[in-house]
């Protein structure tokens, strides 16, 4: 069904080869965090075995090698999102930290009482709470783009929501709770027509779509490594160079300075101005290895396989009685959120786990989405390229088991 040799790919992911409760592990919780291939695990352990030292500091050989590997990883990230320059790539802990950075360092200094910050109804808490904090700090107001019953953005009022008071549009490219792919390029163009900068939360997009920040023309693009087969604790923020130059540093410390005296400190050049302290060097190297791995397989091929799985799974669930799919947008990636009639998602999660099937149950850090649909939680299966059609069958079998138990 796909140009990829999925069986061979699965060999690269040692964690997948295990039994849970006597059943083969079926890992369908990729939107929460993805698994890591040997290529990433080895890159990290090789770094610690052979090259570990602090970066940008020593003249000695190990420090040189660590610095080279760290900067090579930055260039891989640059290529991955097609940024113009390595100066535009800042390593962070993840999407959450990047959004907080932009909120505090870019928006907060400019925002005043009565200003507005525009997000959407389907954002992850990571793209809600940092903005609420800025609103509290500055007296700005949070505005929300509404959503339809299908889980698509309702853009009928979008033009009116973009006002001369809007300090930023912050929008997820792919919804983690619904799977919806949002038209961020078109939205960015509209915001820019009114001079409004745009942050795109790409946390759920980078594992599934080829990203081109120059084509999107967004001002900020943020994502986490752990959702794209890289380690936890590392992520990246792309930002246009002129914006980064104008922004004050977020955190102070070592590495982000050129010179320090008690009278005056001169900040380092980009991107180091935004990387105070010793960074997650091994994490960055692991992220670089994950990017290499995805490129080797071909991001289009990965996306095509996942999409096929999503289509097959969706069709199977639609054909079952008593299943309600939450999030039926035309454009979707990876995520299948559903409710089984009469059964709370947590009971679903436990029964699935019992059969070795790992799915997420809960509000997915998107409580406004749950409130919109009037539900406390959903069960969510989310696919990665190493998943198989047989694993979709395990999902269906899991649902049948739940329905049997709760009949």
């Amino acid at each position: 069904m796909s140009v990829l040799d999925i069986a061979a790919i699965r060999q690269d992911f040692p964690i997948l080869d295990q039994q849970i409760n006597g059943y083969p592990l079926v890992y369908l919780d990729n939107a929460a965090s993805s698994q890591k291939p040997n290529q990433v695990i080895d890159a990290i352990s090789d770094y610690y075995r052979k090259d570990n030292a602090n970066v940008h500091r020593g003249v000695h050989r190990l420090s040189q090698r660590a610095t080279d590997a760290y900067e090579a990883a930055r260039d891989k990230v640059r290529g991955f999102v097609n940024a113009k320059s390595d100066k535009e790539i800042v390593f962070v802990r993840g999407a959450t930290e990047a959004i907080n950075l932009v909120a505090q360092s870019f928006v907060r200094p400019q925002a005043q009482v009565g200003d507005e910050i525009l997000i959407s109804h389907m954002e992850h808490h990571a793209n809600i709470v940092p903005w609420q904090m800025v609103c509290e700090q500055t007296g700005a107001t949070l505005k929300v783009i509404p959503m339809t019953q299908q889980g698509e953005l309702d853009l009928t009022t979008f033009d009116d929501l973009l006002t001369e008071k809007t300090k930023i549009l912050a929008i997820g490219q792919v919804s983690n709770a619904l799977g919806t792919i949002n038209p961020v390029k078109e939205m960015t163009a509209k915001a820019h027509a009114k001079g409004i900068p745009v942050l795109v939360d790409g946390a759920q997009a980078v594992p599934h779509l080829a990203v081109d920040v120059q084509d999107l023309d967004c001002d900020f693009y943020v994502f986490s490594g752990h959702k794209m087969f890289a380690p936890t604790g590392i992520g990246a923020m792309y930002a246009k160079q002129e914006l980064l130059e104008a922004m004050p540093p977020w955190q102070g410390g070592g590495d982000m300075i050129l010179s320090v005296s008690f009278d005056h400190t001169q900040y380092n050049e980009l991107p180091y101005k935004f990387e105070a302290g010793t960074p997650h060097i091994a994490g960055a190297i692991g992220l670089g290895a994950a990017i290499d791995y995805m490129h080797k397989l071909g991001i289009e091929n990965l996306a095509a396989h996942e999409h096929q799985l999503l289509d097959i799974a969706t069709a199977k669930l639609v054909a079952m009685d008593g299943i309600r799919i939450i999030g039926t947008a035309k454009e979707k990636a990876s995520v299948l959120s559903f409710m089984i009639e009469g059964v709370h998602p947590h009971d679903v999660g436990t029964i699935f786990d019992q059969q070795g099937v790992a799915i997420r149950t809960g509000h997915h850090c998107a409580q406004p989405v749950m409130q919109f649909f009037g539900i406390p939680a959903t069960a969510r299966a989310s696919f990665a390229f190493y998943n198989t059609v047989e694993e979709v069958d395990a999902l269906v079998a899991g649902i049948k088991k739940v329905q049997e138990l709760f009949a």
Partner: protein, 150 residues
Amino acid sequence: MSDADLRDLYQQVIMDHNKKPRNFREMDNANHLAHGNNPLCGDALVVFVKLNGDVIEDVSFQGSGCAISVASASLMTEALKGKTLEQAEEIYQQVHKQMTGEEADRSALGKLEVLSGVKEFPARVKCATLSWHTMHAAMDSDHDISISTE
């Protein structure tokens, strides 16, 4: 864990109490109440108690949650109605013990023993204990009129 564990967890009694929770109602003349919620999973319930002296004259609950939390709350209301505060405290302690895998006094538990299946499912213990903690909070409040410990 096995399928047998799953059947232990979702016993008929649990399923029945989930479908038809007992004492599932607001209580106008409650003199103790508390809100309990589990922010992680969104389970939320209110426990109402009417104390007459040190006797639990009536106890009820409302809210939403998974089968385990609803059934546990429902079973709790049945078990506590008519009990003295001291008896209720003893039952609370025994329930807690059995859910966390400690040796519990089975005679004190009676029907509540069906909740013991949850000890094989550590991630679900908090579902089963939510109503009990909420009830405890309601009892502990020193106000005699309706209050929320939220």
